[in-house]
């Protein structure tokens, strides 16, 4: 079955590698001859959209990536941010969309495995994970199978590896019927003086292969992930990798142990495009050539060809450049953990990427050009026209507010995700201070007496679809706000941009618009992007997903004892809204889920107000004046109040008398930069005075009391009934 390296390179073969005729011409110009079969595979692995960012690079460069706390921005395995005391947090989010649709359990599992590896490759011990999952309509025949497989895969890998999953998102929309999204986030903790990078240094040094053996799984995965889906999707199953979290856990411990010995000069995990991408990256970054002898690569299958070995995406593998004098010590550590350790090549000074197999040179390519001179496109794009304004006066009010609220809290998208996160280990490591279900996950730093980190992942795809620019801004603002709602100072973010086919100008327009919005919001909120990933071609038979630029952010709490939670309000506390009265119903959940229509622009994000309101909320949380806090987002004020009531099990009596506008807009409006806080009754006036002097809008809402949520004459429903509706949907749907 092995295809010889000397096989003729036909236009069909080039096309099946996802390379366009002009890209192939570029290869011919670059190397001055026809590539071998292995070389063609290497080019296809390096130049596909997934690895080269060829459509997005021009726009990604515009994002703010620097800040006083940023130690490492995009371009490494993960971003690194200073969190004081010599500690740093290392984090990134990455998609595993295509494989998860083809094989949900393994696709999702290896997505988690890949992102964990990115984090510990840099010398950090993973301390938290999140997953942003998007599925098709609940009644689509494939959805249930995909939900069950993806959730089991995420849990199967993360639980076994031993990292707590502390947050994430699960959403349903028919636009994901043919392409689900699995965006996996991981964060780890390292010391600022012990961060490891992929840049190789020194000529003639051993290139060492570590971890699991190489098999035939995942061959061509990165190329598959850079194409649209059609009816032939079932044939793509062999391109999905198979995960082994046990080996990854051993690899983590072995790598950290090895790093502590000072033996590691450079390290790169083998993710997309496996051995090819990791070796090229290490060499190209260090201005060095790399020579690999594939006969030395540990394999788990016989008679693998050079092509297969170079393109395999077998998991749990690492490539390192080691100090030669430490080789023995390094090998002993890997033997202890039962992992493969093999010297497979060396660094050279000729800037060539040379592959030997069975005594034959099967590839010899210029290493810098493989990485740096990948094609880069300035693809045509058209700006979205946006939608006409939709004043609340043109939107009908619900006939029955109680029924509308109960329907929302029990709807596929607003109901409790407990069914999902109870399948994830949210407690392991013993540091989880806030688990899924609140505004953000919070994990304490157990080497420090009081420090903690907050994590949140957010995007509202229906907003991005309606207006990519405002939607991009909103994704950042909501993530920032969720971190603030715990009392954390948002530090930095990672972006996972999921879009359709960028060769279509309207899709490219979504990508460009969203990046512009993200960039503007990140700049205004001092919330730089330090790592990220782009997933394009999320289309099936020409239908694209909703544009989904997921933003995952990290915030710092200097003292977790002064942290706010969604459900910690006490009887008698005053409820207060920070921010303007609700007015905006365009692109709202109310419109979609109650009125069954999609109309109007998303709410505009006033970034100055966002910052002012957020800074105020954080300051009063840190002053110990807030007993509970929750941001207002999808579903508006009424959903925020209901979520707080369900989390605390306490009712409240609320009046809208201090607010102006139609009641349904006050309750369901999705205006931005808003929070609900609970404060002790005797502090309410004091907090109000402080809000006034800070120029922050302040609306007394009412009092925490009893076991019913009552809002004027409009809503009066027992909290227990809300909980029943909220907790009921997911298990009823799945079981």
């Amino acid at each position: 079955m092995t295809i010889p390296n000397s096989i003729a390179i036909t236009p069909e073969l080039v096309a099946s590698h996802g390379l366009k005729p002009d890209e192939y011409q570029r290869i011919l110009d670059l190397i001055g001859r026809e590539p071998t079969f292995t070389e063609l595979g290497i080019f296809s692995a390096m130049w596909n959209e997934h690895c080269s960012y060829k459509s997005s690079k021009k726009w990604l460069r515009t994002l703010p990536t620097k800040g006083p706390r940023v130690i490492q921005g995009p371009g490494e395995n993960a971003g690194v941010v200073d969190i004081d005391d010599g500690d740093c947090v290392v984090f990134k989010m990455e998609s595993h969309n295509h494989p998860s649709y083809i094989e949900p359990y393994q696709g999702a599992a290896t997505g988690v495995g890949g992102i964990l590896r990115d984090v510990f490759t840099m010398g950090a011990r993973p301390i938290a994970a999140m997953n942003a999952l998007r599925f098709g309509a609940p009644d689509h025949p494939k959805t249930k199978h995909l939900v069950s497989g993806v959730v089991a895969g995420v849990g199967g890998y993360g639980n076994s590896f031993g990292v707590p999953t502390v947050g994430g998102e699960v959403e349903f929309d028919p636009r994901y019927n043919g392409n689900i999204l699995v965006n996996a986030f991981a964060a780890g903790l390292a010391r600022t003086d012990a961060i490891f990078y992929s840049k190789a240094e020194g000529v003639g040094l051993p290139v060492v292969y570590l971890g699991a053996k190489t098999g035939r799984d995942g061959v061509g995965g990165a190329t598959m992930a850079s194409a649209e889906f059609d009816e032939s999707i079932e044939e793509k199953r062999p391109t999905v990798q198979v995960g082994d979290p046990f080996t990854e856990k051993c690899l983590l411990e072995a790598c950290l142990e090895l790093m502590a010995t000072g033996a590691v000069i450079a390290i790169q995990d083998m993710g997309a495009a496996g051995l090819t991408c990791s070796a090229v990256e290490m060499g190209a970054k260090g201005d060095l050539g790399i020579e690999l002898d594939l006969n030395k690569v540990p394999v788990r299958e016989d008679r693998m060809s050079a092509y297969e070995m170079m393109l395999s995406e077998s998991q749990e593998r690492m490539l390192m450049v080691l100090k030669p004098e430490k080789e023995e010590e390094a090998e002993a550590i890997f033997v202890k953990w039962g992992l493969d350790f093999a010297i497979v090549g060396k660094t050279t000074d000729d800037l060539r990427f040379r592959i030997l197999h069975e005594g034959e040179e099967v590839a010899n390519l210029p290493i810098k050009e493989l990485g740096d001179q990948a094609p880069e496109y300035d693809r045509p794009w058209i700006q979205s026209n946006g939608r006409a304004p939709l004043p609340a006066s043109q939107v009908p009010a619900p006939a029955d507010y109680n029924a509308a609220l109960l329907k929302l809290v029990g709807s596929p998208n607003q109901s409790s995700r407990r069914w999902v996160w109870e399948q994830y280990d949210t407690l392991i490591q013993g540091n989880s201070l806030q688990r899924p279900g609140g505004d953000a996950g919070v994990v304490r730093i157990d080497t420090h007496p009081s420090k903690a980190l907050a994590f949140s992942s957010d995007v509202t795809p229906r907003y991005v679809e309606a207006d990519p620019y405002e939607g991009g801004k909103q994704a950042v603002a909501e993530c920032w706000r969720n971190l603030v709602a715990t009392g954390a100072e948002p530090l930095a973010a990672t972006d996972n941009l999921n879009f359709g086919n960028p060769e279509k100008p309207e899709i490219m327009g979504q990508l460009v618009g969203a990046i512009k919005g993200i960039g503007e919001a990140c700049t205004a909120l001092d919330f730089p992007i330090v790592s990220g990933n782009v997933s394009l071609y999320n289309e099936t038979n020409g239908v694209a997903i909703l544009p989904t630029p997921t933003i995952a952010g990290v915030g710092l709490l200097p003292d977790w004892q002064k942290m706010a939670r969604i459900g910690s309000a006490r009887e008698g506390d005053k409820l207060i809204m920070i921010g303007a009265d609700g007015s905006h119903l365009g692109s709202s959940v109310y419109l979609r889920d109650i009125l069954d229509t999609i109309d109007g622009p998303p709410p505009a994000v006033d970034l100055a107000a966002e910052r002012r309101h957020g800074d105020f909320v954080r300051s009063i949380i840190r002053n110990g004046q807030v007993t509970a806090c929750h941001d207002i987002s999808s579903g508006g004020l009424v959903l925020a109040l209901a979520e707080m009531a369900m989390a605390s099990g306490k009712g409240s009596k609320v009046s809208l008398s201090e607010q102006r506008g139609p009641a349904h807009a006050l309750l369901f409006g999705e205006d931005q930069a808003r929070y609900v806080i609970a404060v002790p009754a005797d502090l309410a006036n004091f907090v109000q005075a402080n809000a006034e002097s800070a120029g922050v809008p302040f609306r007394p809402l009412g009092t925490v009391s009893g076991d019913r949520l009552a809002i004027d004459g409009l809503i009066d429903v027992p909290v227990a009934e809300l909980v029943k509706a909220h907790e009921g949907w997911f298990p009823t749907y799945m079981d």
């Binding site: 199967g156 639980n159 031993g162 080996t247 856990k249 109870e422 280990d425 392991i428 490591q429 013993g430």
Partner: protein, 226 residues
């Protein structure tokens, strides 16, 4: 009191367990690697923590139960040293034949991580002295295979001998265990296996300290709240 934590590849709650033992006794436990064949002479408590030893491949705990270190654990247990197995540690003790019964896949067929209620069924053990008989405590679980099974005869004799130490209470049985069994001990009373994770509920940061009593009993220290 001197304690030891067994470390096997794939176990992942060893760090949680080491932290709990250190915080409660004021003294860090020694760690013992899979290939070692003996424990320090003066060891009083051996703990096998939770996780996925050897990936839980074949069957949870089956490979671990056949590692060299297990012989050393058996020898110590035979001499009366206390042995605690939590989660995967419980599965390993069962696979090694040191505790009766078996742990099957959860009735839901899904991994479950949540807080449950436990009834302290037997408070006259070396592991539960700090609790009262019938006391209901909070405790988290996190497992895929915690569905306890034993044949009727074994079960009846265990119930009669006071070998059932913890039961899931107030309808919180998360896995379908027979008789709501959450933790059992050997007939001698020095080997305890339990699925729930008391080490994850020992201080304010965990939202409670109901798990402290177990370690305080086993380590013979006063169970003061953190």
């Amino acid at each position: 009191m001197k304690s030891a934590v067994v470390q096997l590849p794939g176990l992942n709650r060893d760090r949680d367990m080491i932290a709990a033992l250190t915080k409660i006794s004021g003294k860090a436990p020694v760690t013992v690697w899979q290939t070692e064949t003996e424990f320090p002479d003066d060891i009083d408590l051996i703990v096998i923590p939770g996780g996925f030893s050897y990936g839980d491949y074949l069957r949870c705990g089956a490979i671990a139960a056949r590692m060299p270190i297990m012989q050393a654990i058996k020898e110590k247990a035979d001499k009366g040293v206390k042995v605690l197995g939590v989660c995967n540690g419980f599965q390993i003790l069962v696979e090694a034949g040191m505790l009766p019964g078996a742990l099957m896949r959860n009735a839901s067929l899904k991994f479950v991580c949540k807080e449950v209620k436990l009834e302290v069924v037997n408070a006259e053990t070396d592991f539960t002295r700090a609790y009262e008989k019938g006391q209901i405590i909070r405790c988290p679980v996190a497992h895929h295979d915690g569905n306890y099974f034993a044949d009727a005869e074994t079960l009846a004799s265990m119930e009669g001998n006071g070998q059932i130490v913890f039961r899931y209470a107030e309808g919180t049985n998360p896995n379908g265990s027979l008789n709501d069994i959450a933790g059992v001990m050997n007939s001698r009373g020095n080997v305890l296996g339990m699925m729930p994770h008391p080490e994850n509920l020992i201080e304010a940061a965990h939202g409670g300290s109901d798990g402290r009593g177990l370690f305080a009993s086993a380590l013979d220290v006063v169970a003061a709240a953190a």
